[in-house]
């Protein structure tokens, strides 16, 4: 399957047969329709907070409230709060930033292709664009949450220092991870509609098997199993950057990077094959 335009002939030519798109064509399509991605992401963001006076602040206020509740419960009841070389409250607040970004992006991406059936059955553009809309729209949310985190840190007694620069690669990794998970799940959801509920269930549990509200060291030797969770590395980088918590193990970071890479490759393979077949099931 090819769809390209040579330099000599400006007329675009669409060729379709049963074969999947080549990698170059698929990526070329994503690039060609980047304007659509930006427009849809901007709209997605606007629509979400359109009528609310406080707008985007809600998207940050709710996770903040959740963090405060968690800090309270886990430090008073669970006893995680004391005995650390870093601010426990800052640790939780920092961990919640990538968590909220990744979890909300994944949930929205999963249903993105199916939800857009009114658009997809009429005009072609790479369906992957749709799955990339939620992580893109959430970029502003991630930036706002990070900015608020920087304001909160002095309040919980953390002096910001140069470690904070680590937030940049950490955020990049969070975006790539959420995007690749979203691309794969969005494609699978077209075929398995149970997936929406399975994702909701996984997200529910995922928060507690990721060292967000407790440091991995609190679990003793069992804590190293958490390294298999790809979010451990991402969340750990945020926490290290913010409050100087002991960094995530190299293994955890490798798992994060590796799973992102594997998911990217899988996403490309699935979308190249099924890009123009999704519509048959919508």
């Amino acid at each position: 399957m090819r769809s390209d335009a040579s330099a000599a002939d400006p007329t675009p030519v669409l060729r379709l047969d049963h074969r999947p798109a080549t990698l170059g064509n698929w990526l070329g399509g994503l690039w060609r329709f980047r304007g659509v991605l930006i427009a849809l992401a901007r709209k997605d963001f606007q629509v979400r907070y359109k009528r609310a006076t406080l707008g985007v602040l809600w998207s940050v206020a709710l996770p903040l409230l959740q963090s405060i509740v968690l800090v309270f419960i886990f430090s008073r009841v669970g006893g995680f709060g004391s005995g650390h070389s870093f601010s426990y409250a800052g640790f939780v607040l920092a961990g919640m930033v990538p968590w909220v970004f990744v979890s909300t992006s994944i949930i929205a991406s999963t249903t993105s292709i199916v939800d857009a059936s009114g658009l997809t059955d009429k005009v072609w553009f790479p369906r992957a664009i749709l799955a990339l809309v939620p992580p893109c729209a959430n970029l502003l949310l991630l930036a706002t949450a990070t900015a608020i985190l920087l304001v909160e840190l002095p309040l919980v007694g953390v002096t910001p220092n140069v470690r904070l620069l680590l937030l940049v690669p950490a955020a990049a990794l969070a975006v790539l991870f959420a995007s690749s998970v979203g691309l794969v799940l969005a494609a699978l959801y077209v075929y398995f509609r149970d997936l929406k509920f399975m994702v909701a269930a996984v997200i529910l549990v995922w928060l507690y098997v990721t060292p967000i509200v407790y440091p991995a060291s609190a679990l003793g030797s069992a804590g190293r199993w958490l390294d298999l969770n790809p979010l451990t590395g991402i969340v750990g980088l945020f926490q290290t950057a913010a409050v100087g918590a002991p960094g995530p193990s190299a293994r955890a970071v490798v798992v994060s990077l590796g799973s992102t890479a594997v998911l990217m490759v899988a996403a490309a393979a699935i979308h190249r094959r099924y890009d123009r077949l999704f519509v048959d099931l919508l």
């Binding site: 669409l14 379709l16 048959d280």
Partner: protein
């Protein structure tokens, strides 16, 4: 068809075809119930069913050609158009389309309900392959054609179906597509807009745009398309002149009258002269009334009628139809209706003709058809050939040399718009 004033390639049959399909087939898995558990079962369990929506379709459409696609519901028209739009991929075979494609499938180009008309125009322009500045340059024209007025900054979810449809059509025709794919656009919108759509499509036709036109509105297909493809069960049942394609379609609908029950029955037809006697041999221009009684076995909201006069060899001499799209009256099951068509057969060279009618629903889907209605014979107008009477006059060096003994037309049809007394003077 050549129009040097436009930037488009004019119709040129020797150029590479705009659309080429090579043994294209499309298969769907019809699955009644889809769940993770079942799809993990080997062979997918018992309720998977193969459905070949399109089978072995070969098709070539030259650049600048307009081709109609007709067929019953489920014949594969929409599947075919979806593949041409690049939205869906063929299971077998290959297809090639040259040029920018503007698909207009069902209603609208595909709108985001939360976006305003303005935002949707921009996104749709991008989706159809324009750059942002190109969209901006065309924006006013698009909005004006759609007649949106103040609604341009309202989210399209608040639009009426007519506005929705108008905007969709407007975007698609104003992006200067090389290939326009149109599926049932005339089904929505008021009559004025339908006319504007038809006119706009004719403009595009003239400027060399390749058009594929899917419609149940056979008269519109006849109006726009010299060539038409009849699809039946995913295959090309006929490909050729539109009149013959429509005739084939009617034969098809008739042949399985038993299985095809749309709930409308034509009970009785007759063709009478003004004095109430049956028409057989009639004069040119003589007022005739065709009447038909119809029974509805199910509720029909806003039925319509297509009326045609067809020559002996199947050529269409004339057609007229009722207004499309309006719910002008709701008929209940068991109701009967009488249709009367008053007309004057002014049929040039004369000959044997017969009436052919369809009863349609509001959106021109044919519910019942009587392709071989009452017949009549008209003698030729003296000197005139062909089915039409164009009232031509021929002058040589200012001297009217027309052989106009056709004037006897006035004897029987005084109200016909022909000059009285000595006719030729007024028509040089």
């Amino acid at each position: 068809m050549t129009d040097p004033g436009t930037t488009h390639t004019a119709w040129n049959p020797t150029a590479a075809p705009a659309i080429k399909l090579d043994r294209v087939s499309k298969r769907y898995w019809k699955i009644e119930e889809r769940s993770l558990l079942r799809s993990l079962t080997p062979f997918g369990g018992p309720n998977r069913r193969l459905l070949w929506a399109i089978q072995n379709v070969d098709l070539e459409v030259a650049t600048g050609e307009t081709v109609g696609i007709i067929g019953r519901n489920g014949a594969g028209k929409t599947t075919l158009l979806r593949m041409l739009a690049g939205v869906s991929q063929p299971t077998e075979g290959s297809l090639t389309i040259r040029g920018r494609i503007a698909p207009l499938l069902s209603v609208g180009v595909g709108f985001h309900p939360e976006m305003t008309g303005r935002e949707n125009v921009v996104v749709n322009g991008l989706l159809l392959g324009l750059t942002k500045s190109q969209v901006k340059a065309r924006f006013d024209e698009i909005v004006a054609f759609a007649g949106l007025g103040d609604f341009v900054d309202t989210p399209v979810k608040f639009y009426s179906s007519g506005m929705f449809m108008r905007l969709g059509f407007s975007v698609a025709v104003n992006v200067d597509p090389d290939v326009l794919l149109v599926d049932e656009v005339l089904a929505v919108g008021d009559v004025a807009f339908q006319l504007r759509c038809l006119n706009r499509m004719r403009d595009l036709q003239r400027s060399g745009t390749t058009i594929l036109f899917v419609s149940h509105a056979l008269h519109a297909v006849h109006l726009l398309c010299p060539r038409t493809i009849l699809l039946e069960q995913g295959r090309v049942a006929f490909d050729g002149p539109t009149e013959s394609a429509i005739a084939h379609f009617h034969r098809l609908l008739q042949s399985d009258d038993e299985s095809y029950d749309a709930g409308v029955r034509i009970l009785h037809q007759e063709l009478l002269r003004a004095d109430g006697t049956p028409a057989g041999n009639v004069e040119q221009g003589q007022p005739l009334t065709y009447s038909m009684s119809v029974r509805f076995d199910r509720p029909i909201d806003g039925p319509g009628v297509n009326f045609r006069v067809v020559g002996e060899d199947g050529t269409l001499a004339y057609s007229m139809q009722t207004v499309i799209g309006e719910r002008w009256r709701a008929y209940q099951a068991g109701d009967e209706a009488t249709v009367r068509v008053a007309f004057r057969p002014r049929l040039g060279g004369g000959g044997s003709f017969h009436v052919s009618v369809d009863v349609t629903d509001r959106l021109t889907t044919v519910l019942a058809t009587a392709p071989n209605g009452p017949a009549f014979y008209v003698p030729p107008l003296y000197g005139v050939g062909g089915p039409a009477d164009l009232e031509a006059s021929i002058a040589i060096d200012g001297e009217n040399r027309t052989d106009f003994r056709w004037a006897r037309l006035e004897d029987v049809a005084p109200s016909a718009q022909a000059p009285q007394g000595s006719p030729p003077q007024g028509r040089q």
